[in-house]
């Protein structure tokens, strides 16, 4: 059976400007304005403008873009929640959408009842759900709480349950929006794994909206980058993701700072772009001080996108020839070899002090986008596995 999506010149317009309550009085007064004043201060806003693309059977397509770029509007049109203003979309196959999981849950109903409820909302027949019931329960891991009202569940539990229902639904086309924004890291991995499984072994078409570029690159062959309601780029997922990442974070490998005469300050920081591609973290920083620092004590920390520290060093921890010196100004460098990062955006913060205190701290002084050369077969969730690829070697004894 053929399954796929053809989107042709799809546009969606919203009227914004005046806040409308939709009350009867307002409608009457609007009519009045229309007839007698010939003016309404509403503005047209195109959430989507002339979007066209094709998705073939079994293709997994990532949709990326900033908040407000039209991703959700597109998914809403494709899942028939709202109608387009212009253009059309043709869909072959049954569509199920996972827009904000747990939508159909009723707090007073038990987990068991909610599974049936949610299945029915997503268009499943009762026998279908019955057949999958055991699998759904074991995937979600809520066995003990099956007969507890969902209102007593933790938010993580209800998300797990909702995803489980949708994942076992078996539609030809699955629309997934930001499931990864919720749930713990372990469950995120489970979801990604399930989605990969579904697309690879069952040949189902998936539209996947996410801000996790690693997940998009690993699950999707193709990606569509939406910007201000229009397709900014469409094509091979890795390529599109790289361009998107580069566009949102303008990589900033060098930074200069204004120095003062009264206190010790960092003058500049610079990270070697070519060396990091080769696996070497090579950072240099210049400093200037009104008095002699005995010795100068520099430090840095590398952070990942979500602000978690990846690694760091300072001369108190790692001894250095600097510790023998007394300087008023100079350039200090540090090299960390054998570093393989996962793709993503990174930040470097730097410090300067002496034996007694810290003088200068430049938070997120350097920003850069790193794209791994390695093709991982599993989606990577940094919050679960970290940001460094240890290039581990596994063996059997």
């Amino acid at each position: 059976m053929q399954a796929g999506i053809a989107v042709e010149h799809l546009s969606k317009m919203y009227r914004i400007g005046r806040r409308r309550s939709g009350s009867f009085r307002e409608t009457v007064s609007d009519r009045f304005d229309n007839i007698f004043l010939k003016k309404l201060d509403a503005e047209d806003f195109w959430a989507l403008r002339d979007v066209s693309f094709n998705v073939g059977q079994g293709e997994v397509v990532g949709i990326i873009g900033k908040n407000g770029a039209g991703k959700s509007t597109l998914l809403k049109i494709l899942s028939r929640i709202t109608e387009p203003t212009e253009g059309r979309a043709i869909i072959w196959g049954r569509v199920s959408s996972l827009l904000e999981v747990g939508t159909g849950f009723h707090p007073e109903l038990t987990g068991r009842e909610n599974i049936y409820m949610n299945g029915a909302i997503l268009g499943m027949k009762r026998p279908e759900i019955k057949k999958k019931f055991e699998e759904i329960v074991s995937f979600s891991g809520i066995d003990q709480f099956l007969d507890t009202p969902v209102k007593h569940y933790s938010s993580g539990m209800s998300v797990r349950l909702a995803f489980a229902v949708a994942a076992y639904l078996e539609p030809e086309i699955l629309i997934v929006d930001e499931v990864l924004a919720v749930g713990d890291a372990e469950f995120q991995k489970k979801c990604l794994g399930k989605m990969k499984d579904v697309s690879e072994h069952e040949g189902r078409t998936i539209l996947f909206v996410s801000h996790n570029m690693d997940a998009v690159q690993n699950l999707c062959k193709k990606a569509i980058w939406l910007n201000a309601g229009q397709v900014s780029e469409m094509g091979e997922a890795r390529e599109v993701c790289r361009n998107y990442l580069e566009s949102i974070v303008t990589s900033n490998w060098n930074k200069k700072f204004i120095t003062e005469n009264s206190i010790p300050k960092i003058e500049f920081v610079s990270l070697d772009e070519d060396k990091i591609k080769e696996g070497e973290f090579f950072l240099r920083m210049g400093f200037k001080s009104p008095h002699v620092l005995k010795p100068p004590k520099p430090g840095f920390v590398l952070f990942n996108e979500s602000g978690a520290p990846v690694f760091g060093s300072n001369t108190k921890l790692h001894d250095s020839p600097i510790n023998e010196k007394a300087l008023k100004e100079g350039v200090i460098g540090v090299s960390v070899k054998g570093i393989t990062l996962y793709s993503g955006n990174y930040y470097v913060s730097v410090w300067l002090g002496d034996s007694y205190r810290d003088y200068d701290h430049q938070h997120y002084a350097i920003r850069f986008t790193y794209l791994s050369k390695i093709n991982y077969t599993e989606p990577i969730v940094p919050s679960a596995i970290g940001s460094i690829d240890p290039l581990a070697t596994w063996f059997v004894e």
Binding site: S23, F24, L78, I81, E83, W92, E100, G123, M124
Partner: protein
Amino acid sequence: MKTIIEAKRSGFSLNFREIFQYRDLLFMLAFRDYRVRYAQTILGFTWALIQPLLTLLIFILVFNKAVKINTGAVPYPVFAMTGMWAWSYFSYVIMQAGQSIVSSQALVTKVYFPRLIIPLSKSIVGFIDFLIAFLMLLSLMVYYRVTPSINIFVLPFVIFALIVLSLAMGIWLSALTIRFRDVQYVIPFLVQIGLYVSPVGYPSSEIPMEYRPLYYLNPMAGIIDGFRWSLFGTPLPDAKYLVFSGVGILLLFVTSIFYFRRTERLIADII
């Protein structure tokens, strides 16, 4: 399965097949409503019996003891219970269906299914109460030894008319509420007035002749008369009023679906 999503779908196209495909959801929604209805109450299901019994008691006090209304051969409690049987179904459906779409915002803005399912499910929930009330009426009839008239075979048709009318009103109000939240405040008022201008606690024969054309503008008047006629053989109103009610109900139903379909397309954008 091929779906075309386009702007401006044709006006009147009620997809019955689609609604039939979603019948599981229809019953799940009704089940959910029924299941959570008496959640966290002490009396629980007993409420389904207490409410109509108390209303009946008040009717007996006001119309039978105080006003001493004449209901002919039919004992007053049986007479009033019949009116309430029909009326409570009608009022339940229009109250619940009226705000049904707005109160399931979370659902309609996130998942697609034929929206008509939502008000439809309310009429199913109402029907369960309707059956319970029927049992209460039966017990009263047995207690007062009232034998049903031979017109009783028409009763299913009258019940059908009641369901169609309730649904029509419910669908109209639910679609109107999406656009005009004002309707939410009108509905309880409508139900309150309706109770007085329908022959629930008194016979329609009490209405003076010259006011009857106005009185039968309310289709519930004809329906409640129909209930009593088929159960006890009490007189029916003029044929012209019956025809008027019938046509009115049909018209309401057709237009309700038409208007609902028109509003349905905009739900996610304006709700």
